[in-house]
Amino acid sequence: MKEFIVHFPVLAVMVLFLGAFLAEIFGFRSRIARRVILLSCVSVSAAMIFALIPAVFLRGEVLTYWMGAWEPAAGYAIGIGYEIDALGLFFALLVVTTFCLSAVYSLRYMERDRHLGHYTTLFLMLCGSVLGLVLTGDIFNLFVMVEIMTFAAVALTAFRGSSHGALEAAFKYLVIGSIGSGMTLSGIALLYLQCHTLNMAQLSAVLSGGLTPASVFALGLMTAGFGVKAFLVPFHTPAADAYTAAPSSVSMVFSGMVNKAGVYGLIRLVYTVFRAMDRESLQITLIVLGTVTMFAGVTMALAQHDFKRLLAFHSISQIGYVITAVSLGTVLGVSGGLFHAMNHTLFKGLLFLCAGAVYYAAGTTDLDRLGGLSKKMPHTTAFFLIGAFSIAGLPPFNGFASKWFIYQAAWSRAVSTGNFFYTVVTVTAVIVSVMTLASFIKVTQAVFFGQLPAQLSQVREVPLTMRIPMAVLSLGCLAGGLFYPFVSETLLAPAAKAVFTPSVYIDAMMGAGTAQAAGVTDAAAAALAVPGTWDPVLWLILLVIVLLAFFLVILTGEKTRGAVLDDGGQEDDGRYATFFGGERALPSHVSGSDLFWGFRKNWDGYFRIAQGLHSGRVNDYASYAVIGAVVLIIVIFLIFGFR
């Protein structure tokens, strides 16, 4: 069994694709067959990935696996190699947790749709492709997996053809996605032209000699390509439509895995293959990209009237956070970025599942037509609040921990380099965090609190199988926040170290010593100093006791409580009715679009332009993508010089 672990990475991916194939065949006939295939494949591959944790994280090994045992011959990689280092496995863990929970969630969530056979196939294909993408060591294999991922994602977006704008979103996603993959493919081609190899480790070794204009052009193209996959600003437009139109279990997978794949691709490209992150100007370009994404995402989210579209824009802005943090170049920055990616997967997944639950129960996700669901769906409200608190970054939850890392990293970067730009980045990060809190307050008030509209009085809580994934995710959020020193030692430190030690990556893949030969030297990666000695266990005791004390204060007060009527509709018991100046309560729900009037009035100019840019036309989106890519390539050329 010991040496069988070596095969686990490939087997994990193959099981998923096999499941997809089987689901296509047996999927139509019976529900049980579909469910068995889905759950078994998902759980098997998850088990395999989790089995790798001790090897990679605890012992720090880098597992390699050559397809068909085609070992590198005479220093040249001839086969497709899988390489799993701490960074790869870290993202693999995210991918695995996301699609397990989404699978469980979709059992009941998708039961009202038809063609569930196709759904299972596409879902498994998507999971398999993202897992493959994260584990592979070969750059063309990475591209193929990206293609399959885009393919499955487009199909899943268009799954609920009847829903508002699903087909249109899918088409836009396909067009922009294929532009992105076209750029990635041409980048790979140019790289191959330069290095005649496709294995990332060897590429990194060969490229260490110096970058010719062709490889600089390749870097530009691939950065743009992965930028499209990670939905950074100029390329973010299809993401908003896709996440909104796709069923929630799929949008959870999108925001949990698909944009993380883009982020992984960028990190791998910039840190390991090209090892170009020692140049500050490249860092600044990526940071600018990340900051603009962060800011544009959250401001657009504030202007939304649809729950899932709001969450979609938040995903874009949180990815902006991750990219900004990762491209800071310091160990603290990268670990902050990775931590935020992990937290983002947890709380954004939770929020999308809550959106799905609201859609499942109330039939609509329009903020202006919902209201007062907290009495009918107490569990979903609780989970949503945990998700909202953690995305806003309030202390006991995980959002705070990762944001703390990021601010710490950004500010230390600003202080050490004396460059005012990083201060602007830090300030924007804080302001974006407040705006995130604002938009989630808007959703809380619009959807869960306030007055229950009459037509929603028959709403009931969502079934148990949908609440289990939400519970798991919210536990993850709370644990991430409270036990973050543990998380950073076991998961983040190795992953950050892996990012900063490409030579280990190369040696593992191509055999020892190739790194020295190629002159690859690792930057002195400082040990990851956990920023604060904040001992969360202490906090926990503290907070619990303090809460207990104050509940006593509440109890000593007068004990008469109002009868909580659950008819929701009209309350006529004057004593416990809402104060309305003595009137009988009229339908008076302060819904999403009425909030933050002061803020909206001041930002009217900005919002008019921003919403104008998101015109919804495919051509505009395509032109943004192309212009963005061209600008990025020109900037990268400026950085690396034209000689």
């Binding site: 993959s181 191959y192 496709l198 495919v618 395509a622």
Partner: protein
């Protein structure tokens, strides 16, 4: 000689992108995508070309008597092109399917009308 290939590939890619950006008709956009795809395929194939190289195939006779032909054309880009062509085909198929369904549902294929999700 190779520069002609690269130039045509570049022209094809730019033409395709221009078509995607400027055309309002959805099917024309899909065609634009196809053109870019062909441009990229041409780029990949022309990378693997070695002047005077023969097709990278060992005939039975070469294998039998152990002689290795003088010079091959690089086989890997060709493999890449194969995959890219397959992917291009799938993309076009799915795009056209989507366009048909959009037409059925939106009753139009003009990109200006097909924009319910905006803002």
């Amino acid at each position: 000689m190779m520069t002609v290939n690269y130039l045509t590939a570049a022209v094809l890619i730019v033409l395709g992108l221009y078509c995607v950006i400027s055309q309002k008709h959805l099917i024309k956009i899909v065609l634009g995508l196809g053109i870019t795809d062909y441009g990229i395929n041409l780029l990949i194939v022309s990378i693997g070309f070695n002047l005077g190289g023969t097709a990278p195939i060992y005939t039975l006779s070469d294998l039998m008597n152990g002689v290795s032909p003088v010079y091959f054309v690089d086989p890997i880009p060709q493999a890449l092109t194969l995959t890219s062509i397959v992917i291009g085909a799938c993309v076009d198929a799915m795009a056209l399917a989507l366009v048909i369904m959009i037409h059925r549902k939106y009753k139009t294929v003009d990109a200006d009308e097909v924009r319910r999700l905006q803002g």
